[in-house]
């Protein structure tokens, strides 16, 4: 019987993908396929395809602006030329790409990948499909502290914190304080995954209520406050892009070392413990790592939702539950989604720039809904 959806462009793509998959997974000696080799091949495909996909998204992102589209080759030439000049004596095209688009793209890759992997880590440890990187109160704590700085116009010039850094520093401090309180409450009540969720929710509410008070005091700074709360890469420059990129990508890649340990958690804490994992230490360490990663991601560009919740689920539906595959895939997919979202946010209603968080949801929701309808039955249970 002809398979449903076998005709048209979707059918061509599906047949092509299946043929490619079969070719890649065919054993060299004609014998039975080794599952481990098959998985290694899939990992290599994910890494290569991911790098290519990110590169394409990156090039598209730097080639399109509110002013129009320039050829990708011109964009690449301008970018390479500007980098070769070290950012000095640039012509207009080079200056525009080097100063305005490149740092945004670099930050978008880091924040997208970082939030996706933080969500992946939380979902594995807490074993709850509704968990996202903001579940432990990090976003509320960051928001509360960042808004307090914006609303009250705080500056600390004598210790060298100008407006470029004071909001991120406050956001990171707030996020980590909120997570610290969540961890204290959760561990004090037994340290179970459910207790972490409950503690995170109440701590989040507490910080959100204080944040609301600061918002009501913001007056002239209300627009800036709202801008931070909905997420934006508008304030990203080279000065802060590296401060997001290096720690976020570094932590994301290092956390993949423990991919097998995350796999153990898929059977529950008791089974993980019975299989020899020091569950208590691993859970606390990874919660801290994921929270630090989240705090770094939200510090410079505000609270961007959806990516950390949906990207790990989408990767699980497509690739299974092995974190050796879904962690690298989450980084790549999160980075690509964030790059395209930022591109749309700054060009769709130009010169008005839209909040990135709204765009991530608009792009991701239909794709995720399609995957859920196809794979939901297997995924549930």
């Amino acid at each position: 019987m002809e398979e449903k959806g076998a005709n048209g462009i979707a059918g061509i793509f599906r047949r092509g993908y299946r043929r490619l998959k079969e070719d890649m997974c065919r054993p060299a000696d004609g014998g039975e396929e080794s599952e481990i080799d098959r998985k290694k091949r899939r990992f290599v495909i994910i890494v290569i395809f991911g790098i290519l996909m990110s590169a394409v998204a990156f090039l598209i992102s730097i080639s399109i602006s509110s002013g129009g589209v320039i050829p990708v080759s011109d964009a690449v030439c301008s970018m390479l030329s500007a980098i070769a000049k070290g950012g000095a004596n640039l012509n207009t095209a080079e200056l525009y790409i080097y100063q305005a688009r490149l740092p945004r793209a670099v930050a978008a890759i880091a924040v997208g990948g970082g939030l996706a992997i933080a969500g992946c880590m939380y979902q594995a440890i807490i074993r709850n499909p509704l968990v996202d990187p903001y579940i432990t109160g990090v976003s509320s704590g960051s928001g509360c502290f960042a808004i307090s700085v914006v609303a009250l116009g705080v500056s600390i010039p004598f210790i060298g914190l100008n407006s470029l850094y004071i909001i991120p520093v406050a956001a990171i401090a707030g996020g980590l304080i909120a997570f610290g309180i969540t961890m204290m409450v959760a561990e004090g009540s037994g340290g179970s995954a459910t207790n972490y969720i409950l503690a995170g929710v109440i701590v989040g509410f507490a910080f959100s209520s204080v944040q609301t008070v600061f918002l009501s005091l913001a007056k002239d700074n209300l627009a800036d406050s709202m801008w931070w709360l909905y997420g934006s890469f508008a304030n990203i420059t080279w000065e802060n892009a590296w401060l997001v990129f290096i720690p976020a990508i570094g932590i994301s890649i290092i956390s993949m070392i423990w991919a097998r340990e995350f796999n153990l958690f898929m059977m529950g804490e008791e089974q993980a413990k019975q299989l020899g994992l020091n569950v208590s230490v691993f859970k606390k360490s990874m919660m801290i790592v994921a929270s630090v990663l989240t705090a770094i991601c939200v510090a410079f560009c505000g609270i961007i939702g959806f990516v950390g919740l949906i990207i790990p689920h989408a990767c699980r539906m497509a690739l299974g539950t092995d974190h050796r595959l879904i962690m690298p895939a989450s980084i790549v997919l999160g980075a690509c989604l964030m790059l395209f979202s930022d591109l749309i946010a700054r060009t769709l209603l130009s010169p008005v720039e839209l909040p990135v968080g709204a765009i991530t949801a608009m792009i991701g929701t239909p794709i995720f809904a399609y995957m859920l309808m196809r794979k939901g039955r297997e995924y549930d249970g």
Partner: protein, 267 residues
């Protein structure tokens, strides 16, 4: 025959509640042992203490000459495997991936298992008749297939002692017998299998030994045909029952009624 498992003076407290009290027994290699008792009598707690999921309040547990209390969790997992009653939510995990988790204690590398690990897993999948389902999500299996997959996961740990918690609780008659046959064949291959189960007739049919528990203590240990009596059932479960032998000489237990008087009747 030497003892594989020796438990001495095991106590387990949860706050002020004493879940296990002075548990002492020993088991030889290659036995299939039934752990029987009413809900809340401490069967699962005792199994969790033995595989070090819970740290016992006092007492000692020795498996194959090793004091479990002094061993690291990673070393314990090479000696003891446990089979949970249910798989829980598995987010679409495949059978192969789940069974492969059982090789975790043996993999020294950071990321990938070896071909030898895969061979062990494939052999276990074939042994339990689920190799053809290896790429299927666990959530799409029938209860019986899922139970076999859980047992296969524990089997690939190549343990000396396997602890199985209520393996037949959701299964029909055919799959109950199927699972018990697999467990019995593992016991015959020199592995000691300790099974907590509510179906006394099934336990009596398959187990070499029964441990009967009540309120955190061991009431009696022995050959099921000798220890399972109507008086014992009345004392442990507080129900009247009929215990008899069928034409094959196997014990069957039929519950009759709640033993307390009319005043205690539920309705």
């Amino acid at each position: 025959m030497d003892n594989l498992l020796t438990v001495e003076g095991l106590d387990m407290d949860f706050g002020s509640f004493r879940a296990l009290r002075d548990i002492t027994f020993s088991l030889q290699r290659g036995l299939m042992v039934g752990l029987i008792g009413p809900n809340g009598c401490g069967k699962s707690t005792m199994m969790r203490c033995i595989c070090k999921i819970h740290d016992a309040t006092s007492g000692s547990i020795v498996v194959d000459g090793n004091d479990i209390g002094r061993m690291k969790p990673s070393e314990v997992s090479k000696l003891i495997a446990s089979v949970p009653a249910e798989a829980g939510q598995t987010f679409g995990m495949t059978v192969m991936d789940m069974v492969m988790l059982g090789r975790y204690p043996f993999v020294d590398r950071i990321w990938w298992e070896t071909r030898e690990d895969e061979q062990v897993v494939r052999e276990a999948l074939r042994t339990f008749g689920i190799d053809h389902l290896r790429r299927n999500p666990v959530s799409m299996l029938s209860s019986g297939e899922r139970q076999r997959a859980l047992i296969a996961k524990a089997y690939v740990q190549q343990p000396k002692l396997m602890l199985v918690d209520e393996p037949t609780s959701h299964l029909d008659m055919k799959y109950k017998l199927d699972v018990m046959e697999y467990l019995q064949s593992m016991a015959r291959s020199d592995m000691t299998v300790l099974v907590a189960e509510h179906d006394i007739s099934l336990m009596a049919r398959y187990c070499n030994l029964c441990i009967i528990m009540k309120k955190g203590e061991i009431r009696t240990i022995g050959d099921p045909k000798k220890v399972i009596t109507e008086d014992l059932i009345r004392e442990v479960y507080e129900v009247d029952s009929r215990v008899g032998l069928d034409e094959d000489g196997e014990i069957y237990v039929l519950p009759k009624r709640y033993v307390r008087g009319e005043k205690d009747a539920r309705f």
